[in-house]
Symmetry: C2
Subunit: 214 residues, 2 copies
């Protein structure tokens, strides 16, 4: 398999963790989101992934896009170890945490949105920074409430074994810290992220460990 | 089952279609996103769903959130008729189309984001309207390319039977039309949405057919 990735991309980071947890080797192909006006927007890459975003996973003749869809595919084709619990209601809980990060926080704070705010909306830097902080804080505030009261939460989101929820939480916490956001109000989220970060599959997927890290 | 919904919510619309396709009856509970400063932000509703967004599905003692997680839950607990194909690579294709709408378009154009732009970023109305249009057009442009070249596309996204991809496309096209966006550049997307719209389960889920429609 070949993964088109950018070291700092949250969505690519999720897939790298999944591949590592499943014990799947892959070829790493860096796509630099800032160089040459964005390598993800070049015709060569868009021929593969018309969205012009990372990650893309190529598995034989198949081209897979959208991180959560790729992770479900890996779960179905390489079931061990599972990244989802057994019971449908628990799977729904885990998926809802993943989607809360992937649909409510990440889409608002990713690079192309911040660029649009700056260049098209002409948003001043301080207002753009407040925008970034707002969506992390709004999302983490409700996620913290959900996790703090749910008995299924253990050292990780669902007990002590990694699930797709942790795969989304870790990159989002990494990004929030990189941006300097105060995370003291989210002790459950940061505890989960820090615990997961110690696990080898997560540690090897971290941005600083990638071939294209700067 | 009880569905907390708002007639115009895209995410609630997806779940209504799924419930109808599965032939599942449910109690409809309207949550008005504009009245009383937003009924979804009231403590009573947030006790159920801390995110303060719709939909929420209550199934016995279980509270389920995030539309795509709810739909996967319905798929697992009521497998017939299936809303996902059989082969993992086809499931990944269908899920990636659903996620492209749910992660790349919808999160940027929903009500709370437009409100934040208006009140916090102080974005003029014409710039806010251009923002809305931009994310629909950027998302539809690449989705159209993917669908137009994929041999799996039939009358609907995957052949002729409804999948979770169609459940996401139909509400997004409905919203885009309501906003007056010119969709002539996306013939495959609109063809799929129009075909799906004729199917009874989709037609009954339409905003205008809901008890809280205005």
């Amino acid at each position: 398999m070949k993964l088109y990735s950018y070291f700092r991309s949250s969505a690519a980071y999720r897939v790298r963790i999944a591949l590592n947890l499943k014990g799947l080797g892959y070829e790493y192909e860096g796509v630099h989101l800032l160089r040459e006006g964005g390598q993800q927007l070049k015709p060569e890459y868009r021929a593969l992934n018309p969205d012009g975003i990372v990650p893309t996973l190529v598995d034989g003749a198949d081209v897979l896009t959208q991180s959560l869809s790729i992770i479900e595919y890996l779960e179905e084709t390489h079931p061990q170890p599972p990244l989802l619990p057994e019971r449908p209601v628990d799977r729904a809980f885990v998926r809802s945490v993943a989607l809360q990060v992937a649909c409510e926080i990440h889409p608002l704070d990713n690079l192309r949105v911040l660029k649009y705010l700056k260049h098209e909306v002409k948003t001043p830097d301080d207002v753009k920074d407040a925008w970034y902080r707002h969506w992390v804080e709004a999302g983490f505030e409700s996620l913290e409430k959900r996790l703090a009261r749910d008995e299924r939460v253990g050292a990780l989101t669902f007990g002590d074994t990694p699930t797709v929820a942790d795969l989304c939480i870790v990159p989002q916490v990494f990004n929030a810290r990189r941006f300097g956001i105060d995370l003291n109000a989210y002790p459950t989220i940061t505890r989960i992220a820090d615990h997961a970060g110690q696990i080898d599959a997560f540690a090897r997927a971290a941005p600083g460990q990638q071939p294209d890290a700067e």
